[in-house]
Symmetry: C2
Subunit: 356 residues, 2 copies
């Protein structure tokens, strides 16, 4: 199996095998209409010459490129996770993935890239950025499209996490710990996920009879700095909340800095819960209690759906919703409980033990 430098073409293979280009094509694509002997022969030669199909040509001549495109804002941690997930889900199929990274500023891809992708890939998975108006420019493409998370006005098949339920779990958790006054750092309400999380928060406020001053909800826009600012606001309240639920982990991280900056500590003074369970959630200190999005499953679902669509099978349901899950770590704690200082946990030097 020698790998030639300039990759060989179909016609070269055909010539060597002494068959027509068409026969070679059929053999290599597992299509009927070739005798088994010839097929074997052709495959052998192709292998031998290190033949790799030119997908550009394949695609141009109306075939499939076996490449699916992913449009995403890579600078978002959670989005990154999803892209990685799609990559590995795809690895077991015969598809490859090419990613187009949306910049954070222009939240819609240049027309050029959309057509580029359209010309080149067999299907597109779009991980929705904050503004997704550009989706309409895709909507009349003849190309299968699946979105992850829910935009405003589009009707592509979607893969979503159960944000509403997840947020409820988070609040329930805090309520179970005895918190009655919970601040909420909301996300970017252009995204359905942000809206669902906020709705869950308000519903739970009512359902559990929690404090519901309007000042308890501050927007953090899913950003670190936004979370920081929002937490600052919450801490300024005449009656401070004893717990904060941030609509995503990044804004939770910002909130954590703000709390610390204000001379308070998590979770002693304030319990903090995030959403997403991105990698940093477990890396920051104290490790963040959060709601885990099933990104791996979402990625797999997106891949399955798009592959099916490419094969001509329309998805049974327009929306596939996957469950979320609460992950309790160290940033949430029963209200008013007196405990050992967390960073001296396991210490043999100091023996700080305390009572409730």
């Amino acid at each position: 199996m020698s790998t030639n430098k300039r990759s060989s073409t179909l016609s070269e293979i055909a010539k060597i095998a002494e068959v027509s280009v068409m026969t070679a094509s059929r053999a290599l694509n597992n299509q009927p209409g070739v005798s088994e002997e010839k097929r074997a022969e052709i495959l052998r030669i192709a292998e031998d010459m290190g033949y790799v199909a030119n997908r550009v040509a394949q695609r141009l001549s109306g075939g499939k490129s076996r490449v699916i495109g992913v449009i995403a804002q890579l600078h978002t941690l959670y989005t990154s996770d999803l892209v990685l997930g799609i990559g590995s889900a795809l690895r077991s199929s015969k598809y490859e993935m090419l990613v187009y990274s949306l910049s954070d500023t222009d939240s819609q891809p240049p027309q050029a890239i959309v057509s580029l992708l359209r010309q080149f890939v067999d299907g597109i998975i779009v991980i929705l950025p904050f503004q997704s108006d550009y989706l309409i420019s895709l909507s009349d493409a003849d190309l299968p499209i699946v979105t992850i998370d829910e935009g405003s006005h589009d009707n592509f098949p979607k893969i979503v996490a159960d944000n509403y339920q997840g947020a409820r779990l988070a609040i329930q958790h805090l309520a179970d710990l005895g918190h009655r006054r919970i601040g909420f750092i909301s996300g970017n309400n252009q995204l359905a996920s942000a809206r669902d999380r906020e709705r869950a928060f308000r519903d739970m406020q009512a359902q559990l009879g929690l404090d519901d001053d309007p000042e308890l909800v501050v927007n953090g826009n899913f950003l670190q700095q936004g979370g920081f600012n929002a937490a600052k606001e919450l801490l300024k309240l005449p009656v401070r909340p004893t717990a904060i639920f941030a609509a995503n982990d990044i804004s939770a991280a910002g909130a954590m800095s703000a709390i610390r900056d204000g001379g308070l500590t998590v979770p002693e003074d304030i319990s903090l819960v995030g959403f997403d369970d991105v990698a940093v959630a477990s890396q920051i200190y104290p490790a963040l209690t959060t709601v885990k999005q099933p990104s791996a499953q979402m990625a797999r679902a997106a891949v399955n759906t798009i592959v099916a669509m490419i094969a001509g099978i329309e998805p049974a349901t327009a929306v596939i919703m996957l469950p979320t899950e609460l992950v309790v770590r160290d940033s949430s704690r029963p209200m008013g409980e007196v405990v050992e200082m967390p960073f001296s946990k396991g210490s043999r030097k100091k023996s700080t033990t305390t009572v409730a």
Copy 2:
């Protein structure tokens, strides 16, 4: 300016403009050989019909696709940064970027994707993963290739950061703070960056007469868990180091957990310095002192180089080295200094002051 659903083709434009396809092509590509009137006319029509060139066809017919490919391991934070940087550097040019994400397991891209990229893009920027043997399969491509960071045995133009100098700055900083016994958590030595950082560490040990027990160097493989384990080892030493320098931020984050897990605190008990200055460095607590890689500049340099190469200009130097810079945050501190507890900074509630 109406955007048609099925994007129009060159020949449609040509037909409407009543010129040959070739003239239309020339007009749209700003090539000479078209009268100004016709050019204007053609451009107007194209605009009007929402014409977008089919890059697949352009490329197939021997032209440029104006797309550059990026091969990277997206799950690495630092790599992600770089990709984002390349994206924005590219945005000011007329190129688009398509990213192929290497999985963490198979550290070399499938042959298919390499040929795919080769067939489709005008040039490739490779951000080197740990194993980069596959680069040789690219080496006889007729395609411009630039790498970021240095592999083992390839001779592509490279963009590198001055890792050696950066690591020296880090050690010097710790030495200036009075530390004489500094542990080093090394990186993945398959990468030149890791080797350079380690070399700097050893050189500085000698130069500054620091403690140089071999046990002070433990491999952390650039991974969070690796850093955790490595720090555990360092803490077990009969004479514990008073400071640790980790070869990257992620392993530093791991080390921080390990230190805390051992009942010690950063920076009171142990000063910690990382490398890279990825986003988490400033998000973790305490904020990490680290060496900043000039990722934005590196990205820009890579883009400039590849664009020049595509234009047929060979880069003047084989290696472009960019300077690194020490960023002092809260994880490093003069040895044995008596200070206020960091988390109660600014607190009005508790007045905790401690002694070494």
